[in-house]
Symmetry: C2
Subunit: 183 residues, 2 copies
DNA sequence: TTGATATATATCATCTTGATATAAATAATA
DNA sequence: TATTATTTATATCAAGATGATATATATCAA
């Protein structure tokens, strides 16, 4: 049964930025907002169609010089209202994300601690890279995009990402330390 | 296209605990492991069937006094090997979870900051409740289950949950504070 | 006696995923 | 100059996930 469809609102929101095509939306999400969202083409194009059918967006085909033709989507007033209604809607439950690392860790009494430690070291490396990515993105925003309307809110989301990754890194270090004691 | 199927390994892992039925597995996940995993009946029963077909588990129907009949599943040696292989497999990419709160926050320049602040206060409340839940679970583990083979690893996962929630709470407080400055 | 709850198995409409397909363009390389 | 790689762009689909729903047998509470 259909619960709230986040894809629809994500795309409505994206239409308030300067993304106009499905391809641009996918790129923006993948390169700049992937610390808190992800989307697939399998969601984008059917949802754009549905938004047009529902009168929340309209579409205009554009011929480009030196590039393939494209379909540009624009929010309608009705679409804007729908977005605002969603923004105002109260917070429901927040699902806890599934975490493969913790799933494995929970069952890892079945293997040697040295393997588990090695695994957590890999995780630690991934997290450090991720933190560096977030710091780099933050730098780029502060240097080039602070004037943009979204900048402040974008930084809020990055701050969230940074804090979570830092907590994950600390947890990693602590857990590795505890596992070492048990050998 | 089929990527690694976590459900299968989650269920193989659960069969190393004293869960024997689909219903018990769902209950264990929902009550004790929901800080890092979730599963639906829609996954459990078809996957149990598949494990039996693949020779990774076997099933035995049991009549119970005063309760409905049940199907009990047991790991085979082949299933145990498969679980160990999975535990030893190297860490691939870790997806960043989707986060509805950050999605809304990113677009919330379109609404009054007072609404956003109110929304983040709701989030704050949910997080504080969640932290209390984790602390309570930890207490129960330390008091009643420390002897269990899984206890230490379970506490590791809870420690992760606690640290993440604490980071989220701090982020909330900081972000609310920044938003207040802008009014 | 009735309704709620616990224990138990199971299905399905809807949504998501990410691989894949196709195509028109430019850019890089041999 | 031709070929290959990359960019820009739209689109689909098999496989998996979800969580509501259904059904059934039991005990417990009102």
């Amino acid at each position: 049964m259909a619960k709230l469809n986040h894809t629809k609102y994500a795309i409505l929101g994206l239409l308030t930025t300067d993304c106009r095509t499905g391809y641009q939306m996918k790129r923006l999400i993948d390169t700049s907002l992937n610390h808190f969202w992800k989307i697939s083409y399998g969601q984008i194009y059917p949802t754009l169609k549905q938004l047009v059918e529902d009168g929340l967006a309209n579409v205009q085909e554009t011929t480009q010089d030196g590039k393939p033709d494209k379909k540009e989507y624009f929010l309608t007033e009705k679409g804007e209202d729908e977005l605002l209604k969603w923004l105002e809607s109260p917070l429901d439950q927040i699902p806890v994300p599934k975490n493969e690392v913790l799933l494995k860790l929970f069952f890892s009494r079945h293997q040697d601690n040295t393997k588990t430690i090695h695994y957590l070291r890999s995780y630690h490396e991934i997290l450090e890279k991720r933190l560096n990515t977030y710091l780099a993105i933050e730098q780029v925003i502060r240097t080039h995009s602070l004037h943009k309307a979204d900048a402040q809110y974008w930084l809020f989301t990055l701050d969230y990402g940074k804090r979570i990754v830092k907590a994950e890194i600390e947890w990693c270090e602590e857990t590795i330390s505890e596992l070492k004691k048990e050998d």
